[in-house]
């Protein structure tokens, strides 16, 4: 099987700042590829390149074996690369149906006049959400009335409905409670089962480990490499994310600070008392 997306030495610079340095990985259909990394590791820059917001400064971006250049998220979407951004790209005051079809409204023609076909839009939205286990009382209700997990579900269902071949999920579980996160992870697995290649960005190793097949760990714009699930384990990923030795150094530093500052602190406590 050929990879659906392949990155070869992708780099991105903003002025003098190197946000990404020589990132390479492959994504196969029906695979969940987890991108792990702490804040500032370059995850968001990488998503923006994959979703067409930014262009890479160097390197090759292959889609279905051919190099592509994306100028906008819409172009990525048209090729089947759908991104569910962290802030969800959902308009909370707009109805679920209108959100679902935003930018791809079904049209009904009355002669030369094209009208938003709300009846068919509502029907489709209700059906598609039922498939993933959400029963809508009213597809006309505002997205703002949904919980965070439900909104993720709508966003994922929308991407799948419009024929996504690649689904990029940006921290889909980070703002959710444990139960809701589990539901979203279920959608990830469902999408995978449909043969969609999923790129799952997270800094939560537990969520990644639960659904991931392969793992790429980013740290300060560089890749620590890509690992199959069988080749690694959770603790190793966690250690790489945190920057391994850096964490050990930090422990030593913290220890020193605690010892050095214990004097003045107790003095302060006296004064407060």
């Amino acid at each position: 099987m050929n990879p659906i997306i392949e990155l070869k030495g992708i780099s991105k610079q903003f002025g003098k700042v190197i946000a990404l340095d020589e990132i390479s990985f492959q994504l196969y259909p029906g695979e969940v590829h987890c991108l792990l990394g702490d804040n500032g590791a370059g995850k968001s820059t990488l998503i923006k390149i994959l979703s067409g917001v930014h262009r890479p400064s160097r390197g090759e971006f292959l889609f279905e074996g051919k190099p592509i250049e994306l100028d906008s998220p819409r172009q990525a979407l048209d090729r089947g690369i759908a991104t569910v951004f962290q802030d969800l790209a959902m308009l909370s005051l707009m109805s679920i149906t209108r959100n679902f079809f935003l930018g791809r409204e079904p049209k009904k023609s009355f002669g030369p006049i094209k009208v938003f076909d709300s009846a068919s839009a509502e029907r489709t939205t209700t059906e598609e959400l039922k498939k993933i286990g959400i029963r809508l009382r009213d597809p006309d209700q505002a997205v703002g009335t949904l919980s965070g997990g439900e909104r993720q579900a709508v966003a994922i269902a929308r991407a799948v409905y419009f024929g996504a071949k690649v689904l990029i999920l940006d921290e889909p579980t980070s703002a959710l409670g444990v139960k809701e996160a589990a539901v979203v992870l279920k959608y990830v697995v469902q999408s995978k089962a449909k043969g969609i290649g999923v790129i799952f960005i997270t800094h939560n190793v537990h969520h990644a480990w639960a659904v991931g097949d392969t793992f790429t760990v980013l740290n300060r714009g560089r890749s620590y490499g890509t690992f199959r699930k069988a080749e690694t384990h959770r603790e190793k990923l966690l250690e790489m994310m945190a920057g391994g030795e850096e964490l050990d150094e930090l422990a030593v530093e913290l220890d020193l600070i605690t010892k050095r500052d214990s004097g003045p602190m107790s003095e302060l406590e006296h004064r407060v008392a």
Binding site: V53, S92, L93, L102, G103, R137, D138, A142, T145
Partner: protein, 337 residues
């Protein structure tokens, strides 16, 4: 089987409750009943009704366009100046340069499209708040109108236009009283219906909500946010020009100061009608009802024995009440599940 019917009735009630126009509609009914009981026959007579509808139409023609722009997340403070300038352009073109009226009208519309485009382009490209950009164009347009008019005619008024409407093929679109109702009222109703239909029933309407709700998210799913915003700035300018032409041809004269503060009345009408100042929410129908409220208050006061000097105080109180009520209703809409 009353139990089986209950859910659909609930949905209907709930659907009405989350409409942005609800607050304005209730207020309009209340204000109508108030003046009907206090002001009595004069307010309720045919001529009284036409009277306040005409005042409402003067605000409404602009307010319905302004409401779309506000839903798309932008302001246009230059609307008032765009009521002054095109009228003067027509008056000068016809009286000073002997243009035929229809050509002057077309020139005025082309001018408004250009101003709207420049407003929109500047807002989108500079990413500065439209409040500032259009505040600048408000002063610029007004100043240029006064300056050029004085330069050309030495006075700030141009009159005697009435004679030119006779026999002009474009004039009947903007003057007269079809079926005994002033044409401004027809334009107001027509525009409200057409633009309201566009907002709620077409893909473009969907994009208007999206452009104001979250432009970044809208762009990501392929909504041409720049195009939506610029075209709405152009629409707003065209709305103001339409009102300007109707006024100029109705009174037969143009004044450099015409339309002052109309931009604020239009915004007030849109807000009373449920538009959110931050964009992404509102209704054209609401703005139309909002202008009806303004018209009823302004003329209703005339029919009572209260001095009309109180109009602005009433308007201010009304606006405050409307914002509070709409705020409450919107929170309810988001909570209703």
């Amino acid at each position: 089987m009353p139990l089986a019917e209950a859910p659909s009735q609930m949905t209907l009630v709930r659907k009405l409750l989350i409409r942005p126009e609800l607050g304005a509609f209730v207020a309009a009914v209340a204000i109508f009943l108030f003046f009907a009981s206090v002001a009595g026959q004069g307010f309720l007579s045919v001529s009284g009704t036409i009277n306040y509808l005409e005042v409402a139409a003067q605000v409404g023609i602009v307010a319905v366009a302004v409401s779309l722009l506000m839903i798309a997340g932008e302001f246009d403070l230059s609307v008032g100046s765009m009521i002054g300038a095109p009228g003067m352009i027509i008056a000068l073109a016809v009286t000073q340069f002997a243009w035929p009226l229809w050509a002057a009208i077309i020139l005025a519309f082309l001018f408004s499209l250009l101003v709207g485009y420049v407003n929109g382009w500047l807002v989108v490209k500079t990413r500065l708040p439209s409040f500032i950009i259009t505040l600048a164009s408000m002063f610029l347009l007004r100043g240029l109108t006064i300056g050029f008019t004085l330069l050309i005619t030495n006075v700030t008024r141009a009159s005697g236009l009435g004679a030119y409407t006779e026999g002009d093929f474009l004039a009947p679109v903007f003057v007269g009283r079809p079926l005994g109702v002033p044409i401004s009222i027809w334009w107001w109703l027509g525009l409200s219906l057409v633009l309201g239909w566009m907002l709620f029933r077409t893909p473009f309407g969907n994009w208007i909500f999206a452009a104001g709700g979250d432009p970044w998210a809208a762009r990501n799913v392929g909504v041409p946010v720049t195009r939506v915003k610029i075209s709405l700035f152009m629409l707003t300018a065209v709305g103001a020009t339409l009102l300007s032409i109707i006024q100029v041809l109705d009174t037969g004269s143009a004044d450099v100061l015409r339309g002052e503060q109309k931009e604020l009345e239009a915004i007030a009408a849109a807000v009373i009608g449920g538009c959110l100042l931050t964009g992404g929410y509102g209704s054209v129908y609401g703005a139309a009802i909002g202008s009806l409220i303004l018209g009823m208050i302004q003329q209703g006061i005339v029919f009572t024995r209260i001095s009309t000097d109180w109009y602005r105080a009433v308007l201010g109180g009304m606006l405050l009440a409307a914002v509070l009520l709409n705020n409450y209703l919107r929170h309810r809409a988001l909570r209703s599940r």
